[in-house]
Amino acid sequence: MTEAVLFWILAVLAVIGGIGVIASRRAMYSAMSLVWTLFCLASLYVLLRAHLLAALQVLVYAGAIMMLFVFVVMLLSMTDEEKGKARASGYGIAGSLAAGTILVGVAFAVAGQPSPEGPLAVGTVRAVALELYTEHVLAFQVTAVLLLAAIIGATVVAIRRI
C-alpha cells in the first residue's frame, strides 16, 4: 500500500522532470530537470530495494555526469538566439521513434515480472558484488578494460592542450 502510493508519487514526479528536460527552452533548466529525474529514479530503485544502484545512480549521474553537463552549459553561455526554437526536423522524428521503440520493448519485457515482496537482499553491496565477481566476472573485467582505455584516451587527447 505505502509502496504503491510512493511509487505513483515518484513516478509522476520523474515524468514531470523528464518533460521538463525536453520542454524547457533554457539549457540550464533542462540540466536541472534531468538531475531531478535521475533523483526520482534513484528513489524508485530504493523502493525496489536496490540500494547500491540508487546510491551509484545519484553519485555517478546526478553528481558527476550532470556536473559535466552544467559546466559545458555554463562555459558555452548561450545567447538568446541560440536558446533554440521549437522545430520538428528529421532528427526529432527519428529520435521520437527510437525512444518509442525502446519504451515499448521495456514495457513488454517488464510486464510479466512480479514485483519484489518483503525485505529482499538483492540490492545490497554484498549481493551485487557476489553476482559481479562470480556470474558476470568476464563482463565486469571487459568493462574495466573499456573504462581504462577511455581514461587513457581522454588523457592523450587532453595532454596536447595542457
Binding site: 547500491l52 551509484l56 553528481g63
Partner: protein, 423 residues
Amino acid sequence: MNIFQSIGDQLIGWLFEVDPATWPYTYLVYALLIALGGGLTFGFVAIFAGPVTWVERRVAGRMMSRIGPNRVGPQGVLQWLCDGLKCWMKEDLVPACADRPLFRFAPYLVFGGMFGTFAVLPFGANIVATELNVGILYLLAVTGFVVIGMLMAGWGSNSKWAMFGGIRSAAQLVSYEIPVAFALMTVVLVAGSMSLQELVLGQGGMPWEWFVFRNPFLFAAFFLFFTAAIAEGNRTPFDLPEAESELVAGYNVEYSGMRYLFFMFAEWANLWVMSAIATVAFLGGWQIPGVSPEVIAASEGWTFVGWQALSVAIFVAKASVLVFFVIQLRWTLPRLRIDQLMVTCWKYLVPLSLACILGVLVLMLLIPEGSLVDMLLRVVMLAVGLAIAITYLRKVRATYLATRETYRNMEGKDQWYPAYRLP
C-alpha cells in the same frame, strides 16, 4: 527495524495499550516520529552551527591577538542569536537580472544535501536514523547535491564573482571527492562493510582498537581523508570558492537574509559532518571504552538509556575535538592558489590514497588480526599518534603563553578573555 519503528512500537504499546503488529495506525505514528527526528536533527544543526560560529570568531580573535565578539551575553556567547535574528529580519533580495527560480532554490539544495548526510550518521549505539548497507556511498552521493546547489547559486546570481565562485567550488568538490572516497575505502576494506554502524562496530572503545592506529596505511589514510574533507568543506586552506580578496565572497555574494543564512548553515553543518565521518570511520565512533556493544544491547531500562546517552556524549566529544582542530587550522594556514589546489589533489592525494588502499590490502593478507605483529603495530602507531598529539598541544600552549601577559592585563576589564583560559 530502525530506531523510529522500535520507539514507535514501544510508544503505541504504552499509550494506546494495543499490539503494534495489528494496529492500523502504526504508520501514522512512525511518520510523526520521523518528522520529530528530522526536526530534532534540524535543531541540532542550528544549535551546533550557531555557537560554533561564536567559537570560531573567538578563536580567530585570540589567534590574531584581538578580542572577537564579547558583547552579547557573558563573553559574547549569545552573539550567534543576534546574527541569526539580524539575517532573519533582513530583506530577501534577488538581483534584477538574476535567474529567479534557480537563485531562490539553490540555498535549499545546498542545505538539503548537507542535511541528508545526517540520515546515516550513527550518533550513538542505537541512535541512528537509518542503517543503510551503502552508507558511505550514500554520504558521497548526497553531498553531490551541495555541488549542484553551489553551481545553481553561482549561475543564478548572474554575477561574475558568484559565477567564478560556483565554478571553482564545483571543480574543487568534484576533484576532492575522489581522495575522500578512496581514503574511506580503506576502512571499508578492513571493516568489510559500507554501513557506518558496521564501521563503528568493527572498532573498539580503546584507542588501539581504532582503525586509525591499526596500521601505518590506515594512519596515513586518516590524514588524507581529513585533508580532502577540509577541501570538500571549502575550509581554509582550501577556501578558494570564497576567497575574499579575489571573489568578494564567491557563490553566495549576491545573497542576503535568510537565504544567505542557509548557506552558512550548510557550511557549519558540513564542518560537523566531516568531523563526524572522520570519527566514525577512523576514531572509534561512539564506542565506549571498556564496554562492548553486546553489553549495551543486553542492558535494559534506564541502564540502556544511560549507555545510549554515554555513547552519544563520547561521539559528540570526539567530533567536537576535530571541529575545534579544523577551526584552529583555518586561522593558521594561508590559502592555496587554484593550480596548487588541483596539483595537491590529483598529483599527491589521489596517488597516495591509492597506495594506501594497496598497502591496507597487503597488510590485511600478511598480518592476521589479533596476532603478535598486529598488536605490536597498533602500539607503535598509537605511540606515533600520541607523539603527534603531544607536539601539537605543546605548540598550542607555547603560542598561548607567548601572549598570555597581554591578556592577563585585561583581566576584569571589558575585554577580558575567556574564563576557561589556560594557566
